[in-house]
Amino acid sequence: MAPAKIGRRGTVYSATRIHQAAAGFFVPFDAGYVDIEGGLRVFAHLGGSLAPGATVALEIGTIKTDKEGSARSGPIYRTAPGAKNST
């Protein structure tokens, strides 16, 4: 294995709204698999209800709090600038 660069943009492969999750997550939240430029399919939080095929771009934001109540950051894919995504 070797490090590889990935793009910031991707396409939503599938999406759900999670209503029941592990402690620390703010339910409900949107999440799904995103196909990233370069071939990876990753699970990540989504910024809002997005349908498969939506064009998204990577942001970093708070996705949960840890056991001490501190905010923890992670990838959140939101509608890409200029993209017109149906929900």
Partner: protein, 388 residues
């Protein structure tokens, strides 16, 4: 890397083992009983059903996920078993069926004439807490979310309606109403299923199996010993085990788990095709899973799963009834016990003794179970059984 990719057919073996006896506890909360107590009840029932005693058993295969060290020995100690070999086995939610497979294989390979298989689990409440959470779980994925994402992709690619998923929950309760071993036996309507609390959209509460505790056991015997003692089947004919291990490729969520590969191995090993299967117990941890497994087991073409649910094909009286026991959805899901309990139901079906829910003239049955940690790693087991 040697053996990279899907070599396939590596475990394609056919060999008969008779199911001489089965036993299970009903699944439920069982808050006042220990896992050992539950397992002992199943073992005693299976031995009585087989007409055998503890001294007749040559080896034991015991499946569980969260019950600690040497569960099998702890169970058998309290029943006064002799000090025979015991293998404790974990394969996530496919552990029970993997233990049946291990028992069958030991017999098919000629190692033993009579073995005992046990599956048992005492469960807590809520979402399953994985011992080794992976990256996706750290990011917030859950087991129902995994299936929900598969459901959404299937809807996107094939136009599958949510009613197709909901009908599976309706069918499960319809079957469970005829099975005294099931836990959730009241009928529900499609509207009630869809209106129940959302868990991971589009999956609602009534489309998710509940945690439950319980145990199941069965006694397997070699064909030679069985015939010599004037006994018969039903028979385990083959059992195929497949895995998935994330390798960075893009997984097709509409082909969930390794169901298709395990099924192909089982069909090819026996020459029994999906059209010949009369009754199926499959891993319906979530309604969406059942629908995808219709396709993976090739009960229909890819994309057609909803039709099987909606036109009654998989309901009792249909062409290939699925989860006539009520499945995980109506029985609950005591992880290690689940796969073994499927064999209890299919044994009763092939004997023709599933009173109130008998699949007419059932001759061929299929058991399927699947477990793992999200898309990162998992196991699927498909076993074919015949009456004769």
């Amino acid at each position: 890397m040697i053996g990279a990719g899907h070599v396939g057919l590596s475990n394609m073996i056919e060999g008969k083992a008779a199911i001489l006896g089965v036993g299970m506890t009903p699944f439920g909360k069982h808050e006042d009983r220990t896992v050992e107590d539950l397992a002992r009840a199943a073992v005693v029932a299976a031995l009585a059903d087989a007409g055998l005693g503890r001294d007749d058993v040559q080896a034991v295969f015991a499946a569980h996920l969260y019950q600690g060290e040497v569960l099998g020995q702890r169970v058998l100690r309290g029943l006064g078993f002799p000090e025979i070999p015991v293998l404790n086995l974990e394969n996530a939610c496919a552990g029970g069926s993997s233990a049946v497979r291990a028992g069958w294989l030991a017999i098919a390979a000629g190692q033993y004439d009579r073995v005992l298989v046990i599956g048992a689990e005492k469960m807590g409440r809520g979402l399953i807490n994985f011992v080794n959470p992976d990256l996706e779980q750290a990011m917030g994925i859950t087991a129902p979310a995994q299936y929900a994402l598969a459901a959404r992709r299937h809807m996107h690619e094939f136009g599958t309606p949510v009613e197709g998923f909901a009908e599976i929950a309706v069918k499960s309760r319809y079957h469970a109403g005829r099975n005294p071993n099931a836990w959730f036996r009241d009928p529900v309507t499609r509207d009630e299923v869809l209106a129940s609390r959302p868990i991971a959209e589009p999956l609602t509460l009534l489309q998710c199996c509940r945690n439950g505790s319980g145990a199941a056991a069965l006694v397997l015997a070699s064909e030679k010993w069985t015939r010599a003692h004037g006994r018969g089947g039903p028979w385990v004919r083959t059992s195929a085990l497949a895995s998935w291990m994330s390798d960075g490729t893009q997984k097709d969520l509409t082909d969930f788990g390794a169901t298709r590969r395990a099924a192909i191995e089982a069909y090819e090993a026996t020459g029994i095709g999906p059209d010949a299967v009369d009754a199926v117990e499959l891993h319906d941890a979530f309604t969406c899973g059942e629908l995808l497994h219709y396709e993976g087991l090739q009960l229909c073409a890819k994309g057609e799963g909803a039709r099987l649910a909606l036109d009654g094909t998989t309901r009792l009286g249909g062409r290939v009834p699925v989860n006539v026991s009520g499945g995980l959805l109506a029985k609950s899901h005591p992880l290690g016990a689940t796969g073994v309990a499927q064999f209890c139901e299919l044994t009763w079906q092939l004997r023709g003794t599933a009173t109130g829910r008998q699949v007419e003239d059932a001759r061929v049955a299929l058991a399927h179970s699947q477990g793992g940690v999200s898309l990162e790693a998992g196991a699927t087991c498909v076993t074919l059984l015949t009456r004769d």
